[in-house]
Structure formats: structure tokens, C-alpha cells
Amino acid sequence: MAEEVKTGSPVVQKDTPDFSNWSCPLPLADYPTIVMGHGGGGKLGNELVEHLFLPAFRNPALENLGDAAVLDLPAGRVAMSTDSFVVQPLFFPGGSIGELAVNGTVNDLSVSGAEPKYLSTSFILEEGFPLAQLAAIVDDMAKAAATAGVKIVTGDTKVVERGHGDGCYINTAGIGVLRPGIQVGPHRAQAGDAILVSGTIGDHGMAIMSVREGLEFESQIRSDCAALNGLIADVLEAAGGAVHAMRDPTRGGLASTLNEIAQSSGVGMEIDEPSLPVRPEVQSACELLGLDPVYVANEGKVVFFVAPEAAEQVLEVLHAHALGREAARIGRVTAEHPRMLVARTAMGANRVIPIQIGEQLPRIC
């Protein structure tokens, strides 16, 4: 299946999926677009399950096709998370809504200190949505789930009338098992903690911008969308209780995440702007549109709040992992100016970085 994304075009033209691998592709091939019946739970809906979802997600829990998936979980505490994905465009450089849907929930569980195990997925599709695009999205989800080592065990599909949805919305919910002895939480950051980020910031948001109608530009920027459970597992194994808090800085970017944790923990934070890892093209794209990388979304990064004596060790572990090569120590938690994020600029002066109100918009001023 063609994966090339044409930069500058908001909708990617994907080839028709290769139906020859599917057990009985013919019924689907008769319907190149989604119709209301696909959400009706009747023959058409069943065909979607049999010929699209099942082959892609393949696992015993799913194949039982019960109203609920019955799962075995080890004894202990369980974490659960849910998220909905409404990104436009659906396909962008470096990823798609499908990958986001899987990795987003995997990551929410992981930063809570849990090992992600099982996901559910619900689709809300717009009448007229091309089946080829749905197949591509599902394929992306299957691959993302396999990479993350999680299983998609139950799901649902609904169809809304043309004009009442943006093509495809996805919700995923996930269950993970909490690692014994690990206690992380947004309220646990302490004065003196080192603030580490696992890699470059702003990649995802600017990848989306690069294909957004009215703002598009040519670049090599790709979304950093990735499952972080492996990386986080390595860090927790090495540093254990020295990790006080973690979060993935998605919507609102690094600045919003740091502000949120500062609020929850009742502490202040100081970051050193020159130490923030930003890809040159991401910086350039931000300059072009008047955006600040600290507010731009990420989909494959973690911020760690770590006891200072463990910071070097955690950095080493991060650098040793494919997703953490550009990890950096960017600041510290402080008892001063509680609930406020302050950055030391390249000029050596200080600026307060407030929490973002609404979406960051390109500016001319």
C-alpha cells in the first residue's frame, strides 16, 4: 500500500488496499464508501468486522466477537485511560489518525506507570467516507498495536450522516497493569527534581501545520508519533522510585504540561531555553508562522521529573533508546514562584511562560 504523503495536500491519496490477503474481500469491494448501514449492526456492519477489523487486529479475545472482551489480568492495580482522536488531516507526514489513536492511549497508560495491555476502539464514520482510507487507518492501527505490544480486543462502529462528522473520529480506551512499587503522579514533583525531556519538541504539531490548508509549507518535518511504553519501561527499571512524575506533552505542548504539573504539585519550575531540543526545521517553521515551539503538540515525547541524583542515569538510559537519542535535561523544579513556569532566555533574562489559552494560532504581528 502506498505510504507516500504529498506535502502540501491535505488529503493523501492512498491506493486501494490489497484485498487479496483478506479471507473474503468481495463484499467490501462492492462498497467503496461507508454507508449508513455499516453502523447498523446488520450484514454490512458484520462484514466490516469480519473483513476489515478482525484480519487487521487478529487476536483470540477479539475473535470471540462477544459483546465484551473477556480478559485475564494479573492481580494488582489496573490503570484505565481513554482518548478520542479528531485530527485533520487524517494522514500527515509521519503518521495518521490510526497511529495516534493507538499510541495516544498507550502513552497515557505508560506515563501513569502502567504497562499497557488491551485497547478498545470505537469509530464514528461519516457517510461517504472512502473505504480505502478506513482500511489504511486500520492497517496503521494494527501496526502500531503490534509495535507497542498491545491487543485491540473490542470495538464498535457507528455511522453518521454526511456532513455530520469529519470523515473519521476514533476513540480508544486502554487498560494497563501498574508496576509494583512505582508511584508516579502529577502531584508528586518535588523542589529540586530535574526536568528531562525525551527528545525534540514541536515535531508533531508542525507536521500537521505543514499540510493544513491555508498554512501549508514544504519541509522534512514528520510527526514524532510513537508508543513510549518501551522507553518508559527502561527508565522505570533503571531509576524506579526516583521518577516522581511523567507526562507526554501532547496538546498545548511542553509549556502546558509543565504548567499543569506545577499546578498539581504546587511547585515552581525553571527551564533553560537554550537547552530545549528543537529540530532546526521545526524552529524555522515556527518562525514562519509566529509560533512558539513550547506550545506545539508532541505525540512521541515524555517529560520526566526525576530526583536530581538519578538524572544523569535516566539521561543515559534515554540516550540508549531509539526514541530517546535527543533527550535533554531542560530545567528543575523549585520551591520559588510556586505554580509558575519561568524560562531563562538565551539573553540570560527570565520570562514567565503562562498556560496556553485555547489553540496557538499563527500570527503576523
Partner: protein, 104 residues
């Protein structure tokens, strides 16, 4: 009211009667209308605002300005006292009136 950034002209064509360039801003390329700076050629640097080139960057002047900036403050004799004063100022909390409207 003036977010304009420097970029390098990589290609010049005509589109819809307008002279248009592909301009490279540090790795990000955008199509820019060059009609207002007709002397621009491939390889030149220009300042761009909302998709329009407004001025060619005079590279010689730019280099000279930078050189002048680099010279500044380098030959200070009494670096010691000024350094302390500056360090104190830099360490001070932010201005009480960042909007500058305090009246003295």
C-alpha cells in the same frame, strides 16, 4: 505587526501573472510573491511577510552590522564594576511595570 523572516530564493517562476519564488527559510520552503522586489535573483536573501517579499537583504551590510555588534563592549576597561552591576540587574526580578507605563 511585522512578523517578517529572512529566506533564500531557490527558484523563480511566474504563476498567474505574478513573479513567484520558492524561498527557503532554514529548511522550510514556501512559495512567495516576489513582485515587490524585482531585483531578486536565485541565491539572494529576502525578508518575507505574509507571503510577500518586501526587501532584499543587503548581505554586505548585514555582515558589517554583525561585525559591529561583535565589537561592542569587547574593549571595556572597567569590566569589573560594570559586570557586577549587570549581574545584579540581570538577577533582579522582572520589571514591576513590564508595560512600561509606570510614571516616576
Amino acid at each position: 505587526m511585522c512578523l517578517a523572516i529572512p529566506g533564500k530564493v531557490e527558484e523563480i517562476t511566474t504563476e498567474g501573472g505574478l513573479r513567484v519564488g520558492r524561498v527557503n527559510f532554514g529548511g522550510v520552503v514556501k512559495r512567495v510573491c516576489l513582485d515587490y522586489v524585482p531585483e531578486l535573483e536565485v541565491g539572494d536573501y529576502t525578508i518575507v511577510h505574509v507571503g510577500f517579499a518586501l526587501s532584499k537583504i543587503d548581505e554586505e551590510t548585514a555582515e558589517k552590522t554583525l561585525a559591529d555588534f561583535r565589537e561592542m563592549g569587547v574593549l571595556d576597561e572597567e569590566l569589573g564594576t560594570e559586570e557586577e552591576a549587570f549581574a545584579r540587574a540581570a538577577a533582579a526580578p522582572q520589571s514591576a511595570c513590564p508595560d512600561g507605563s509606570c510614571s516616576n
